[in-house]
């Protein structure tokens, strides 16, 4: 299997990168849903700010947001814009009825946090539908994307982050909870160790300029 250097980027990745390169910055509005077994949170309105090459910020409007640790900053734009990786083609896979090309990226810059990332790309649309990334410090996670109105710019209409969660437990002495514990919560903790955070985008404002202090 031939290795592609940075100069010999996979043409499909190049195509995707070119598509993404149209976007210098964007502000997107969306709704965020947190589904982690030990978290009870309601849907929250969020704003997502992006600026080339890899600045990204998710802000909950007037509230507290819970995001996968380090994961959000590694969306497809930020991943590819660094351009410091080599690519390994890994065949094709059928995903949700779509025949997707699988390409693995390996960073060439040791300072990058991620170790390997697998991309599932629609070769016709040049859209990335899924990424699976392993990071040095923040574990592995998957991002699944759906596209709509902004597919031309390679911007998703929905992003789902999936990640592994660790155990959560605070001693009763700290929480001062001595009553009977919620049994359903306990069960969930044991059953489901996978968390997801889902952002559904409603509107993108593209290339209107964003001050750096937002990030």
């Amino acid at each position: 299997m031939p290795m592609h250097s940075m100069a010999q980027t996979d043409p499909l990745i190049e195509k995707v990168s070119q598509k993404l390169a149209q976007v210098n910055d964007y502000v997107a509005e969306g709704v965020m849903k947190t589904d982690v077994s030990f978290i009870k949170a309601s849907l929250g309105k969020v704003k997502i700010y992006f600026k080339k090459p890899n600045l990204l910020k998710v802000k909950k409007e007037g509230g507290i947001s819970l995001l996968p640790r380090g994961g959000v900053s590694l969306t497809i734009n930020t991943l590819l814009n660094t351009r410091q990786y080599t690519t390994i083609p890994a065949g094709n896979q059928l995903l949700n009825g779509k025949n997707l090309t699988v390409i693995k990226l390996i960073p060439t810059d040791d300072n990058l946090d991620w170790v390997i990332s697998t991309l599932w790309i629609d070769p016709v649309e040049a859209l990335v539908y899924k990424t699976a990334t392993t990071t040095k410090e923040n574990g592995s996670y998957e991002i699944t994307m759906q596209y709509g109105e902004y597919a031309k710019q390679g911007l998703a209409s929905k992003i789902i982050f999936s990640f592994n969660t660790k155990d959560y437990k605070l001693p009763n002495g700290i929480t001062l909870e001595f009553g009977d514990e919620d049994p359903t919560a306990k069960q969930k903790v044991l059953k489901n160790k996978k968390g997801t955070i889902e952002i559904t985008y409603s509107k993108y404002t593209i290339n209107k300029g964003i001050p750096n202090n937002i990030f």
């Binding site: 589904d35 982690v36 978290i39 009870k40 849907l43 507290i64 990640f163 001062l176 009553g179």
Partner: protein, 291 residues
């Protein structure tokens, strides 16, 4: 009856001792607020240690709402002791002073006096709670600002939207008033049994400490009696801050996870109040006033 309540309130608020509790609460709250203002992030970091492995928490976690929750957690354990200071002195203090016989030779019956004293002590308790609410909630909101309430419970965390918090505090304070009135009525019962102030105050405090230990120990033998102990129910104001989730694990705005638990607790506490006050009335009615 209103005259008697006025008299009792007048006496309560003319006594220097009354203000100790208000001062103590203010001092405790200000110290905790100061500490959290200076070094709150370390405290929040410690609480979120487990979460931070998985998630990044973005936003003002240490806001007025969380500060109030922390304060209530700490103070609602100690406020009963301050309530006991006044409630357990209402009858025995006057018996000790010798003024009880002055009251009981007025045309009002002992039942009237006992109820007036209980109502006055209850009003004091409620005022203390309002003072606590003012300092713990409103002052914290003013000092630390407001944001969503991010609560770290023993087994899970709850993120309640900012606009969904305030009514929960109102509910929690109403609930806390039932808890503290139970302490008031217990102090009152102790007070009716004695002719000196120290015994009932120490007695009430000891009873609270004793039953709290029984309520918190997870020993099967004690678990049988736990549901009947008022101390088991006193802490259930926290239930206002647990939220229901739907099938997709989305928190449902404006919901409370366990309403029956709150209802049961209020019922148990109310029964205790009725029991303690009725017992006080009966004891005082039968008692020979020898002081």
């Amino acid at each position: 009856m209103w005259s008697l309540i006025q008299i009792e309130l007048y006496k309560i608020f003319r006594r220097p001792r009354t203000y100790i509790a208000f001062g103590a609460i203010a001092a405790l709250i200000v110290i905790i607020q100061f500490g959290l203002k200076i070094d709150g992030d370390t405290y929040a970091g410690f609480l979120m240690k487990d979460i931070k492995d998985t998630l990044t928490v973005d936003g003002k976690v240490l806001n007025g709402y969380l500060i109030c929750y922390i304060l209530l957690q700490l103070l609602l354990v100690h406020v009963p002791l301050l309530v006991a200071l006044i409630a357990a002195d209402m009858i025995s203090g006057e018996a000790n002073l010798g003024t009880l016989r002055l009251l009981f030779t007025t045309p009002y019956s002992r039942t009237h006096w006992v109820l007036a004293k209980f109502i006055a002590a209850s009003m004091y308790t409620i005022l203390l709670l309002i003072w606590l609410a003012f300092l713990a909630l409103f002052a914290s909101m003013w000092i630390f600002g407001t944001d969503d309430l991010f609560l770290m419970k023993s087994n899970y965390v709850v993120l309640i939207e900012q606009s969904d918090v305030l009514w929960r505090y109102i509910g929690a304070f109403v609930f806390a008033s039932f808890s503290l009135l139970t302490v008031t009525s217990l102090g009152f019962l102790m007070s009716s049994l004695s002719s000196n102030s120290v015994g009932p105050i120490v007695g009430t405090m000891s009873a609270i400490v004793f039953f709290t230990i029984l309520s918190t120990l997870n020993i099967p033998l004690f678990n049988i009696v736990k549901p009947y102990l008022f101390t088991t129910h006193m802490n259930n104001w926290k239930e206002f801050f647990d939220i229901k989730v739907n099938i997709d694990n989305e928190a449902i705005r404006g919901s409370i996870l366990n309403i029956p638990k709150i209802k049961t607790s209020i019922m148990v506490l109310t029964l205790h109040i009725i029991l303690f006050v009725t017992a006080s009335v009966i004891i005082i009615k039968k008692k020979d006033i020898l002081s």
